[in-house]
Every structure is written in structure tokens, then in C-alpha cells.
Symmetry: C2
Subunit: 400 residues, 2 copies
């Protein structure tokens, strides 16, 4: 057993006894885990997030910088005209990659980032509505090959793959029902065989919600509700940095909240679902130019759609009372034509305590949001490690 | 520095070095925290909940039994005609008390439990609708005196007080708006001055939700949505054993989800709120006997009310997709007259993935649910301790 040595610059001893080393490793893992989940942080932010004293943190960060597990950099975005640029630490970009794939209805997107939250490559291909899933997967794999070749990226340090698919996915992507379960198994098995790393699968709209909460319009808030208004209408809820899955994998299915109790039956099993009234598919049946705000008919359609969306958001926000509501999809790009009637209906149907505390905003990310969400899923999942992250290690298991 | 000794019965050493002792203390605190939150558990359940190996757990439990921090008992409820009674461990009932107070609209309830989740005294007094808050507090304090005298209870080991009040309470009971903030400050200051322990304040319907999730119809599930149908209509959401507060303290305000977009204005600021249609106040204006199922008019009213409640629950469940929906309050006691139309409307307006995964059930606890929820709030809050519970200790802070 080594003796514990202490000095000013290394208060807890770098050559330490077994249990002391274990405790220190726990702290190192806490720092690594926070940086992996949140991206580059200043030392002050890191101290707050890890709940470690400045002195302990300083020693831990120094050790990790020496080991090249971390790197130090100037935060580019922090300059903003006042104050000095802030020094931030992040995981070493060479420490690993995460691959995000969105197997969308009409579009396959692949995005690659490193563990320092730097996006290093991104690409997409269109596909037909009814493209079989094996073919969609092949398109995604071809895209991965293309991107890694063009950008000279080696996937040897790939940490995991996060995949967005259409339709509900149960808790932790572990199951689905009928065809959905088959699809999830196909995606997971194919990608696991190809890359040999953990594969996380979730609904692609939910992944877009997660990406908006990590990098987009909901960055830095504790609770965000996301609604996507496109050919389909879906959503997702992020609480404390994690997606709410729901018991049946259907949390955030805001497109299937009813806006007319006697409305038409929906394929989901419900009746009068929001999606039937405000999806781009439905609206384009009424006016081909619905996204063109110069068109009178389009403006009328958007006003009614905005009111219906506002009512559904009111019901959802009276339920979870999030800090921010993020609205994405093509319809959100019509701006005030949708948002003004939406806000009016929202205010009219929410508890004052709810609408006082919530901010409604447009999505900040582009069409790669779901693929980025796949990356977020990889980065927020614990890396394979002999010690549990964020928990004290089990003495017996890790120190026999 | 003591030498680390190891033996078969005490694999990690009871007289140990500083850091080893710290790690061991972390494990002990993990065990104590889980038992405080969940109540008596078998060793198998405890191993699962603490994520400790059976060997480590066995040693930790033995030490804590020796210290009288824990006691061992036969689980009464586990006999159930088959198998042997299961041996459970719990915190020592002498280890402390928790006081739950419900300052309801028409009723003051006080309930006292020990840290082993045993309820040791409970009582209530009625009060008029407009009783001032200072008077309500005095009634509660008189009731505490009465109960402790009658049951010979000493509050010297009181760990905390949890209080339910009417109206929204922001995150962690730290603030409110206007009169609500004043009320919360009055309650907290009065009780802190009287008992000298931490005082937790939350909305009393939310506390009833928490109690149902810990001891009632939602016990053992990961996500529960609670709806209370009484003179007012409110609710609460419990995820992973914790109440969802919401950004403005209004999560679970299901009584203010709109069922008629052009309905009458509500004092909450919304319009066509569920509460306006199904509160006992409204229903009794239409029939004094609304709770009497032998009355034709009552049955018709309950059928319509059930349908409206089912629609609102559908919207809420499409949003959070909980495992169980628990319905409490006087209206729930009418049974199938309410539940049948409720279930029909619910099924008609939910995504199939949602209604397949959710169970709707009546509340299991009585009128002391909110006071019990106050107790749950005390027991699920970290006890004041030099080391953070469920987190590895900060070496600097706890081992200078």
C-alpha cells in the first residue's frame, strides 16, 4: 500500500492508497461524465455541475489535463463584446466519436461529432416515402462511408450510435409492438454488427427534442417541450437533460391530443387528433401554397392551425408546465402567421401560473436535429466503465 | 492512520483508514437514504435499490444493525397465505419522526410518522372556507399538541415538517406570487420557529399525488398521474418517486385544461376549464344528490362529468404517458357511474400506445393523503448531513 502524500499543488495525492485512488477516480469520472453530457464548460460551471469544491476540482482537472483526457480552450461564443474570453475545458476531441443517424420518412441524415461536442461531418440523402427499412439502413451506411472517406475520419474510437426512427419506441428503445419491434431490432442488430458499439434507438421527433434541449432553443433550461409541425405532428419532453419516454414509449405524442371530441377517427386509435387538422399533408390538400404567407387562403389556414396548436400546447403545458416550448418543422417557418394566433389561443387556455412561466420559441436547429439528438443520446448514456458513473463505486465489486 | 483489517465477516474493515472509512460511509448513507425514502425492504430489494453487491450490502446492513440504525422485522403484509413471511430491514423507528400537515380548504389534518414509515398518530379538524391562514396554522399546532399528548410522542427527534397548502407553489416551495408567496412565508416561518427543523411546503393536491405514489394506488410504479375530483379539481405528477413541480409550480393543473374552447372564463385566466364543469361545487348546483347513484339525474350528471374527465386525462396522458392514473376525491367514490364513461372517453381520445400502457384506478388513501404526502416530502428530502447522500463525498469538503 502506497503512502498518501500531500502537497499544495496536489492536495489529495496522486500516488495514493487503493481506497483513496477509488474516491479520486469517482471524482474524475464525475468530471468526465458532466463534460461528456454538457460539452465545454468553464471551471466555475464545472464546479457547480459536479458539486465539487474549487480546490478538489482544480486538482482533478489538472490531472486529467496531464493525462490528455481533457483540453483547455478559449470559448469562442463568450467574447460578445464585453469581458475577456472565458477559458473552458472539454473532453479531448480525440477521445472518441459519436454517430447520429436519422432514418426519417423522406430523408436519411447522418451526423458525426466528437466527445467534445464538435460536429465534424454531416450529410443527408432524400428517399421515397415507402422505402423499405433495409434500404434506408443501407443508404445510411453508404452515407457514413462517404462522410468518413471525404473528411478522413476514422471510426476506430466510435463510442456509440444513436438512431432516430419513425413511430413510437418503448423505454430505452428496448422494445416496441409488432412491426415497430421488428424495425427496432433490425436497426439495432444491423448497426451493432457493422460498428461493434452500443446502439441507442428512439423516435426521431423525440431525438430532435433532445437536440434542441442540449444545443438548440432549449439549451440550458431544465424542462422543455418540443412540438414538430411537419407532414406529421409529434413532440417530445426533456426533463433534467433526459427524454421522457413514457410507460408505452409515447410521451410527447401531442399530435394525437384531440381538438374535437366528435372529430374523425385517426389511425392512432383516437378521434379528432390535432395532426388531422394541422399536418402539412392536410393543409396542402386545402392550399398548395400554405407555406407562402403572401397567399390570403394560406394566411387564413395558418391562423386556424395556429389556434388549434395553441389549444393543444395549453393542455400539454397545464400538465407539465415546462420552462420553454420549442416549435419546429416547416410550419414554424411561417413565423407570426402561425405564432400570433398560437400565442393568443395558448394564453386563453392556460392557467396564469403556467403562461407566466413559459416561453414559446422557434426551433434553432436545422434538418439535422434528430441526427444530433442521436449523438446526444450517445453522449448522455454512461460510457462502458468498470465503475458506475455519478455513483460511489461498490467497494466489493471494484476493489476486491 | 489505522491499518485496514479484513475478515470473512467484515470484508471491508470496520476500523479502517480515512478514505476507506469515507467510502464505507458513502455506502451506509446509500442504504439509509433508500430505506428512508422507500420504507422497509427485503435484502434483495435493498440490493437492487442501492446497486450494491450482496456481500457489501450484507456487511453494511450488519454494521448498521449493530449500531441500532436499522432494525429487522417480519413483513406483516407479505404472509398472504403462500410462502414464508419475508424478513425486512427498516430504519430504527426510534431514529426520528416526520410531521405532515394539510392546511386544506375546509379541513386541517395532522399526521405523524417515524422514519420507518410507521404512522403513529393522525387527526383532523374541520374549518370554515374562509378561515384566515394564521388561524389555520393555530388549529394545526393545537392538533399537534393534542396528538403528541394523547399518544405520548416526543418531538425531540423531529426530522422535518411537510405542509400542504391550497394554490400553486413554485419549485421546492421557495416562492409563489403575491398572496401565495406571503402565505408560504407565513407557514414556513411559523412552523420553523415552533419546531426548529426544515419545513417543506407544496400544494396539497400534489402532496396527495406523492402519497399515492409512495403508499397508495401508485406504489411501486415509476410514473403516476393523480387527479383529484372534489370541490376543486387538481392533480399532480410523480416521476421516479419525485413530484414534478413545473417551471411556475403549476405542473399537474389538470382542472384547468379546457374542455370547451369557447367556454366561460375561469379565475385561473383560462376558458372552459374542466373544473368549471365537473367540480363538486358545480355539480351540486345542478343536483344536491349528485353523489347518490340511486338518483337518475345524478347518474346523468356523472356520465357527462366522466366523459369530460376522460377527455382531459387523454390529453394529459398523450403528453406524459404515465404507468398509472390515480383518481381521488369524493367524485371517485361514485365508482362505475363515473369510471365507465371516463374510460370510454379516455380510450376514444388516446393514442393506442398510450391507453395500452396505462392503468386507471381509484385512489387508495383516505382524507389524510395530503398530510401523508407532507411526510413523504420530509422522508425523500436529504437529511442534513456532512456528506451528500447518493453522491460520492467531496474529498476536500469531507476529508480535509
Amino acid at each position: 500500500m502506497n503512502r498518501v502524500r500531500r502537497s499544495e499543488s496536489d492536495p489529495v495525492g496522486s500516488e495514493s492508497s487503493g481506497p483513496l485512488r477509488l474516491l479520486r477516480e469517482t471524482h474524475e469520472e464525475r468530471v468526465l461524465s458532466v463534460l461528456r453530457t454538457r460539452g465545454p464548460l468553464s471551471r466555475a460551471q464545472l464546479a457547480e455541475q459536479t458539486n465539487l469544491s474549487r480546490a478538489t476540482l482544480s486538482s482533478i482537472v489538472q490531472t486529467l489535463l496531464n493525462k490528455l483526457a481533457l483540453v483547455e480552450a478559449r470559448e469562442v461564443g463568450a467574447v460578445r463584446g464585453r469581458g475577456r474570453p472565458v477559458s473552458v475545458v472539454s473532453l479531448n476531441p480525440a477521445g472518441g466519436l459519436a454517430l447520429g443517424i436519422d432514418l426519417g420518412q423522406r430523408r436519411i441524415q447522418v451526423t458525426i461529432s466528437n466527445v467534445a461536442h464538435e460536429f465534424v461531418a454531416s450529410g443527408a440523402v432524400a428517399c421515397a416515402d415507402r422505402t423499405p427499412w433495409t434500404r434506408r439502413l443501407q443508404l445510411a451506411l453508404d452515407l457514413v462511408d462517404d462522410l468518413t472517406t471525404r473528411h478522413d475520419i476514422s471510426l476506430i474510437a466510435l463510442a456509440g450510435v444513436g438512431v432516430g426512427i419513425v413511430g413510437p419506441v418503448s423505454t430505452e428503445g428496448s422494445s416496441g409492438v409488432g412491426r415497430s419491434a421488428d424495425r427496432i431490432a433490425l436497426v439495432r442488430d444491423t448497426l451493432r454488427a457493422r460498428f461493434g458499439v452500443p446502439v441507442h434507438v428512439d423516435n426521431n421527433t423525440r431525438l430532435a427534442a433532445l437536440a434542441e434541449a442540449v444545443w438548440g432553443a432549449g439549451a440550458g433550461v431544465d424542462s422543455a417541450l418540443y412540438l414538430r409541425l411537419s407532414y406529421g405532428v409529434g413532440g417530445g419532453i426533456v426533463l433534467g437533460g433526459r427524454l421522457l419516454a413514457g410507460a408505452g414509449g409515447a410521451a410527447g405524442e401531442l399530435g394525437h391530443i384531440s381538438v374535437d371530441r366528435d372529430g374523425p377517427a385517426c389511425s392512432c386509435g383516437g378521434r379528432g387528433c390535432l395532426e388531422r387538422y394541422v399536418s402539412l399533408t392536410t393543409l396542402q390538400e386545402q392550399s398548395e401554397n400554405v407555406l407562402d404567407a403572401r397567399d390570403d387562403k394560406a394566411r387564413d389556414l395558418l391562423a386556424v392551425a395556429g389556434a388549434r396548436v395553441g389549444e393543444v400546447l395549453a393542455a400539454a403545458c397545464n400538465t407539465v408546465n415546462p420552462e420553454v416550448v420549442v416549435i419546429g418543422g416547416e410550419l414554424a417557418e411561417t413565423g407570426d402567421h402561425l405564432f400570433k394566433p398560437l400565442q393568443t389561443a395558448f394564453r386563453r387556455h392556460t392557467h396564469s401560473q403556467v403562461h407566466r412561466s413559459v416561453r414559446i420559441t422557434r426551433a434553432a436547429l436545422g434538418p439535422d436535429a434528430a441526427a444530433r439528438g442521436g449523438i446526444a443520446l450517445v453522449l448522455t448514456s454512461s460510457p462502458a466503465s468498470p465503475n458506475a458513473v455519478l455513483n460511489a463505486p461498490d467497494l466489493e465489486a471494484s476493489h476486491p
